[in-house]
């Protein structure tokens, strides 16, 4: 693949490079034999400001040899490495190639560090200080941008330190989430629920499920209409982890608290995406790193003394 839109530019660069190098050589050859007119007192003959003269000392010959060696080096370099337009050189070096080689080397260097953990389960890793230190660093570099540096998330970014999971909180499920990412999709349900009043009623019923402040009358009216929601959220509103449908009874409001927020959700739906983090899916993490990170995140909500 060429970086140029037209082959002309490759030739243009190659010609300029070659002319430059050969031009330097030509300059050297011409000046090596050149004679210089020298006055009696070895000055250039010019006098400035009354008595300022410039000496005309010859340059050391090893400078010339140094210059020649740079030309020789240039010839070898241009054969070996890119420089003559699109010619990629005998060593086939490229920036992308150099980057890939560095990444491979880094992974090879890190392998021994992770080797110890491949045989461990998440529970075992959560007790290992070094594994948790690595996990914490991986978390800060890859996850904290969305889930906050203390893992408690924010609006639309789940809290990873509680026991409330949208897609499952077992080590296997956490592993799956990290590798493949998640897409939570709630379609707009206004049409299925009914008119605007129906939506308000259902919203109040939903609020009542978690004991949040609500209008009891409206909630009672909304209970029947909740059938439209039960398909995903369950008849009891306790959610469905297979679908990623949240538990509506847990008083955790990922996308906003209050009647207005719930009405907005029913009317407009929501698509919430977590990008996949595994290398094979476009992310940056190797399988070993995903394992350690899984254990770390699992440990956040499974501390021995935690009271969630």
């Amino acid at each position: 693949m060429s970086d140029f839109v037209n082959n002309f530019w490759s030739v243009y660069i190659a010609v300029i490079t070659a002319v430059g190098v050969l031009g330097c050589l030509l300059l050297l050859i011409l000046t090596a034999r050149k004679k210089v007119v020298s006055t009696d007192d070895n000055t250039t003959g010019h006098v400035w400001d009354g008595d300022l003269r410039e000496l005309n000392n010859p340059m050391p010959r090893w400078w010339m040899w140094l210059f020649v060696s740079t030309v020789v080096f240039a010839v070898f370099y241009l054969i070996a490495y890119p420089g003559m337009g699109s010619f990629s050189g005998q060593f086939n070096w490229s920036q992308v190639g150099a980057y890939d080689a560095e990444v491979r080397k880094a992974e090879t260097d890190l392998e021994p560090l992770y080797a110890r953990f491949t045989a461990m389960t998440a529970e075992e890793m959560s007790k290992d200080g070094q594994a948790m230190a690595i996990g914490a660093n991986l978390f800060q570099n890859n996850c904290a941008q969305c889930h906050s540096s203390d893992a408690r998330g924010g609006k639309s970014f789940p809290n990873l330190t509680d026991r409330d999971w949208l897609h499952g909180g077992s080590p296997e499920k956490i592993h799956e989430t990290i590798v493949h990412g998640r897409t939570g999709m709630m379609p707009p349900m206004a049409a299925a629920v009914g008119g605007a009043d129906d939506v308000t009623n259902v919203a109040n019923y939903v609020l009542s499920l978690s004991g949040s402040p609500h209008d009891a009358t409206k909630a009672a009216l909304g209970k029947d209409k909740f059938v439209a929601c039960a398909a995903c959220h369950g008849a009891d509103g306790k959610g469905n982890q297979a679908l990623g449908a949240p538990n509506l009874t847990d008083d955790i409001w990922l996308h906003g608290w209050g009647e207005a927020a719930v009405i907005d959700m029913i009317n407009n739906g929501k698509t919430n995406v977590m990008p996949p983090q595994a290398k094979e899916n476009g992310g940056k993490l190797t399988p070993a790193q995903v394992d350690v990170l899984t254990a770390y995140i699992w440990s956040l909500s499974n501390k021995p003394d935690a009271a969630n």
Binding site: K34, V36, D41, N42, P58, R61, A144, S148, D150, G154
Partner: protein
Amino acid sequence: MKQEEEKKPQKMVPIKSADSDSHAFFEVHKKVYPRSISGYFMRWRWAMVFLTQFVFYVIPWIQWGDRQMVLFDIGARRFYLFGMVLYPQDVIYLAALLIICALALFLFTAVAGRLWCGFSCPQTVYTEIFMWIEQKVEGDRSARIRLDNSGWTFEKIWKKSLKQFLWIAVSLWTGFTFVGFFVPIRELGSELLAMQGSWQIFWALFYGFATYGNAGYLREQVCKYMCPYARFQSAMLDPDSLIVSYDPARGEKRGPRRKGTDYKAQGLGDCIDCKLCVQVCPVGIDIRNGFQYECIGCGLCIDACDSIMDNMQYPRGLIRFTTQNGVVQGWAKSKILRKVFRPRVLIYSAILIGLSIATVISMGLRQPLKVDIIRDRASLARIVAGGKLENIYRLQVMNATETAQNYRIRVHGLDGIELIEGQLVTVPATDTVGVSARVQIPYGSAGSGSHPIVFDVDAESGKGSVSEHSVFLVPR
């Protein structure tokens, strides 16, 4: 007195180039064979060789506790200097040190010209060492010239081989010592002997090769063509700077004379044209041609001429350290020295002393603790249970002592502000730990916007106390 010389341009002593017949752009380098001389300045040069090389070769071997006293651990990004652990954030001290070095250079040059070049520059020091080896192996000046001009006899082969062996040995030891400032030198020694550590091997050989090339072969070529100091020295000197000067008024006309005759009546000066000053010069110039850019101010020509003056029973000082004003105006030595303390020198000295004191005090008062605070950008603020508004921070706590420390973290600056998580952190020696801190205020207790707050981090042992500013954001 030479008053009539004051207003006219200084009498030009014709400069004779090394070979006035050659008119090519380039000239072949003629090897300089400095003759050895003993004297006051030679003794000073060797004193500086011992002083600088003692510092260089001995210091990496000295331990401080259980680590090297001076170690620039680039890999771990920590510089150990005596009892101090310096972080990359301390690079300001390096800047201060370099500024002090530059000012010292300006000061010494304004006073006495190229003292650095003639006495303490590594180029001059290593060239002296290598030339001493060469002289011990190949003999004095005439013996060396004879040896170089001769064919490849057995004598030449073993002498040249021995010299090369000694040069290479000194170069390798120098390269090894240099890398020993960056990698603990004892471990480095065993590593290199086992041919391990590709970068260490590379740098030791690179620096060794540079020493070998510069001191063995390039020598004065570095001073003449490569070093920028030679070129801008003229900007740092003034007519009251001490420079190595030949006194043409005393010395001309130069020429040999018969013993016992009245040389002054013959129109001769004190210079007997013995050319000893040219022979001892390490850069191969004739100082009688006047002040030249190649002159490194080593004073060996002074030693040479003084020895001849002693033999001839003439007064010393035909070549001496003096100032341009002193020669032109014909000043006495006391007036020349008084002129040393001119405004330029006094100002340089004042700034140098002030900056040095400030740097020393600053390093003395330095806290062995650094804290960087990054407010979490992922969420502006959170409303949490208990009616509190929360901001999350990440504190990088950098322990610059050599024992593990427990740090207590507190926060103040807003009514009711509380630190929920991250009040106590243990940081291993010379290590850095990131702490998550949750800071909460009662909801509604502060207006919307950015509020400055302060984190206080104190070591329980008392070694380190820092207050860092940050902001607490309250959304609308």
